[in-house]
Symmetry: C2
């Protein structure tokens, strides 16, 4: 089986900024970075120590793998114009199917999805990031596993249907929890209260929810069906009808789940 030694990184956003260097540190040779945005391409190429291009036609051939770290909306147009469709190519998206490669006439495709949220300026610890893999066939999957295990001990085989479920679950677990924290902050700020006062409570709540079963440790007025307090809260939210609606529906849902 041919070794995967040489990679080209397509994209220079949050995922590429961390996955590129991680692949390099694991022993991979990064030949080139491609990005439509010159500044981003240049910064990442300098970080990795390789060349870059902003011209899709100048993406080097001869790589063993092309790693597409692009936003969902940017991916398909780039795939369509990509000049090396016969070489193993992976995308890093949680929400796109592997079939997007087939639709763009790629022959050897996979998904290499690091399940984490990345920010350009915060270096993630790949040792703690689950890498979700999928490939067209067993041989390609074995190759991707080898690459993934060189950067993280937590490598899992997750097909596109499962990845869709993961993504939906992550919307609740991350996007929606973040919105609950945003609403909480808004309520505190509207009342000139400091937001940091809740941080220890939030951290402990999440620590418990991860260590245990969140449904089993639910607390609060809805859980104990304290309609007096809930009524008071709903009244306090009278100036924020949208949050009142959320308060009511989530409280109802907590009660319903507790009775299941």
């Amino acid at each position: 089986m041919q070794e995967i030694n040489k990679a080209v990184i397509i994209g220079a956003g949050n995922v590429a900024t961390h996955l590129g260097p991680a692949l390099k540190e694991s022993g991979m040779q990064i030949m080139q970075v491609f990005s439509r945005t010159r500044a981003s391409a240049e910064i990442l190429a300098r970080k990795i120590g390789c060349e870059y291009t902003t011209d899709i036609k100048k993406i080097q051939e001869g790589a063993d793998i092309y790693v597409f770290c692009l936003s969902d909306s940017a991916l398909f147009p780039i795939l369509e114009q990509f000049p090396h469709k016969g070489t193993l190519s992976v995308h890093t998206s949680g929400s796109l199917s592997i079939d997007i490669f087939k639709a763009a006439a790629f022959t050897k495709a996979g998904v290499f999805y690091p399940l984490q949220t990345f920010s350009k300026n915060t270096r993630p610890d790949f040792q703690k990031i689950p890498i979700c893999l999928e490939a067209n066939n067993e041989e390609l999957l074995t190759k991707l596993e080898k690459i993934a295990l060189a950067i993280s001990p937590d490598v899992r085989q997750i097909n596109s249907a499962q990845r869709e479920i993961l993504h939906l679950a992550a919307v609740f677990a991350c996007n929606f929890t973040n919105h609950m924290l945003a609403i909480s902050n808004e309520i505190l700020e509207m009342n000139q209260l400091p937001t940091d006062i809740l941080h220890p409570l939030i951290e402990e709540t999440i620590r418990k929810a991860i260590q245990q079963n969140p449904a089993a440790i639910q607390t609060g007025p809805a859980m104990r069906k304290d309609y007096l307090i809930m009524g008071k809260h709903i009244k306090q939210l009278s100036a924020l009808p949208e949050y009142r609606k959320i308060y009511t529906f989530i409280s109802e849902s907590i009660i319903a789940k507790s009775e299941k």
Copy 2:
């Protein structure tokens, strides 16, 4: 000003189990534990090294402070029958007003509210717990501050109206985030996917939300108005209409907040 040296702990639940020993370690003499439940009273009294009673009439007089660590629903009936209403008394509830003492004819009252979620078997780090104080007058407040500062560096003066707002904000930040995690787990389990795969992502999301402004770092399909993905998610939730409703309302709320 008379020193506060001797305390009686009323209650032997989650808060009493940790606050009692913390007060003792800070130098307070704990005279007695009261609980209606003999087993709980005995366990906590042994932990602290003091006597206990299950008879409200046998609660010792001569304490400098009575610390009521009771559930909201248990507090008022105990206050009514309490034999020493002239001594400084505090409750530890986030949701009850200081006025509950006045209603029960206490003369020197306060609130001593450690803003954290407690479980009997997990020892909390009081150094990281904000203590929210309120008192009838400045002299009592100064006394409570001294007690609080002996167990935590984070002591804040929060009146009953502010504590109500804090409690409402905490429902969003803790109870509702926990429910989002419970829904996420349910979705994963229904699809035979492991729940631990999302833990690193959840931890990082919360870390960011606490360090930064959660509204400013919101991500996900609603934030980028990706109606294609949202439509797919809503379809995936067709067997869970209650969660579909939550998905829709929270997504709408994320969009609305992003446009504010």
